[in-house]
């Protein structure tokens, strides 16, 4: 799965640590998500999309 987390994070000036805290996960999980190594649960994808102010999950997570 490809994600736009890194780009959106930079756009809103959020660090990996801040995003991790707001989404209730570790920074390591954010790193794995950004690298496309980890497929999140629907709940986590939803939380991250909300933190990154995106209405649609597919704007953040793109199935390749």
């Amino acid at each position: 799965m490809k994600t736009n987390i890194s780009e959106l994070r930079k756009k809103f000036g959020i660090t990996q640590e801040e995003l991790a805290e707001k989404a209730g996960v570790t920074r390591q999980t954010i790193i794995s998500l950004e690298a496309g190594r980890y497929n999140p649960s629907l709940l986590l994808a939803h939380k991250i999309s909300m933190v990154l102010k995106q209405k649609h999950i597919e704007d953040v997570f793109v199935i390749k």
Partner: protein
């Protein structure tokens, strides 16, 4: 409860249980194991031994509580589950090979075919735990 979950992290690379993540965690661990030092350095009477047993019961319950509540996100939980499953399969494979080898050796030497009942009990207990877990997960998840 005595310890705080934030003081510890999941032990990943050196066994099971918890590992101190902060200086408070290290202090807690040192205090917890201090009776062992006392026991090894001095001669303990029944009263001190009783106190040490109570000490360990209290800290064991506290540690169990911390282990349940230690912060873990979904990726950590997934990794833990896969690692534990792999560890269990390796343990089972080694146990089964060992038991088969001992049985074969005993039979070859004309001895009675004997398997340590503790091993059988451990496997049955694991079987029950797996069935109970699957039952609970099917009902609630």
């Amino acid at each position: 409860m005595i310890g705080k979950k934030e003081w510890f992290k999941r032990r990943k690379y050196a066994g099971w249980g918890l590992m101190p993540a902060t200086w408070q965690g290290w202090v807690y661990t040192l205090i917890m194991i201090s009776p062992l030092v006392v026991m090894s350095l001095t001669q303990v009477n029944e009263i001190i031994l009783g106190a040490i047993v109570v000490w360990f019961v209290i800290f064991s319950v506290d540690m169990a509580d911390i282990m349940i509540h230690v912060p873990k996100d979904e990726r950590d939980s997934l990794h833990e589950a896969i690692a534990e499953r792999n560890a269990l399969w390796v343990i089972l494979a080694v146990l089964a090979t060992g038991v088969a080898f001992e049985l074969a050796q005993n039979v070859a030497q004309g001895k009675e075919a004997f398997v340590d009942p503790v091993i059988i009990i451990a496997i049955i207990a694991g079987l029950i735990a797996k069935a109970a877990t699957n039952y609970w997960l099917d009902k609630n998840n």
